[in-house]
């Protein structure tokens, strides 16, 4: 909700609003992200979502690829305990995050470029808040992260 208080995103950051890749899940977090839209909550248009059946199926290589290709951050909107597929879904997603962060580090990229949080099907405000905070964090990272200078 707080983004709308500020100037339009593109005005604030020009065309350089951080691009954020979000992995969501078809049944749980993607509906939550939809709901943020239905409520007209604002966040940066740099945010783009790919929806999967379950966040346990994310390959760390996708995350590395995304960051190398130009996404400044990747956000995993995980199911948490609601996942109907895997009871240990959250644990698996955490392992993927840990592995991907290791790979990021190995590539000289800040591990903070990857974030994960549980987003449920009604977590609209929560998602918007995460996106705003993550956009800000990634913008701040541009000045501190050498890798940011690549683009």
């Amino acid at each position: 909700m707080t983004a709308s208080a500020a100037a339009p995103v593109s005005e604030r950051t020009g065309t350089s609003a951080p691009r954020i890749l979000v992995f969501s899940t078809n049944n749980i977090s993607d509906p939550g992200i939809d709901l943020a839209g239905s409520a007209h909550l604002h966040y940066s248009p740099g945010v783009r979502v790919i929806s999967l059946p379950c966040t346990s199926g994310i390959r760390p290589s996708w995350i590395i690829h995304a960051v190398k290709q130009g996404f400044e951050g990747v956000f995993i909107a995980s199911d948490g305990d609601e996942c109907a597929y895997l009871p240990d879904c959250a644990k698996r997603a955490s392992r993927i995050v840990a592995e991907a962060q290791g790979l990021l580090k190995a590539e000289g990229l800040a591990p903070q470029r990857l974030k994960m949080a549980a987003i449920c099907s009604v977590c609209a405000e929560n998602f918007a808040k995460h996106m705003i905070a993550f956009s800000e964090a990634l913008t701040a990272l541009r000045t501190t992260d050498a890798a940011g200078a690549n683009r």
């Binding site: 909700m1 707080t2 709308s4 208080a5 007209h40």
Partner: protein
């Protein structure tokens, strides 16, 4: 003119249907900055629980929103949404 009815137990339908009526008055109250529900109620001369219905209705439909911090007394303050982004 009779005084407006401020009976404590007006039916909630009576109160709720006045939300469109109160919209401009509440936005006027908020024109000098954010206020809490009791403050808005006082400015309107109406009971706080009635103001609560109106404030929450206006919030729901995008006219006003809360300010993040809570007052020391435990109240949120509400501010008008900029004109361009209103419904």
């Amino acid at each position: 003119m009779n005084a407006p009815n401020t009976a404590p137990n007006r039916d909630l339908r009576e109160i709720i249907r006045e939300e469109p009526l109160m919209r401009s008055r509440i936005l006027e109250v908020l024109s000098d900055g954010p206020h809490t529900v009791p403050e808005i109620a006082e400015a309107l001369g109406r009971p706080a629980h009635e103001a609560m219905y109106w404030v929450m209705g206006l919030r729901r439909y995008g006219w006003i929103r809360e300010v993040k911090e809570v007052t020391p007394e435990g109240y949120f303050r509400y501010q008008a949404v900029e004109k361009e982004t209103r419904p």
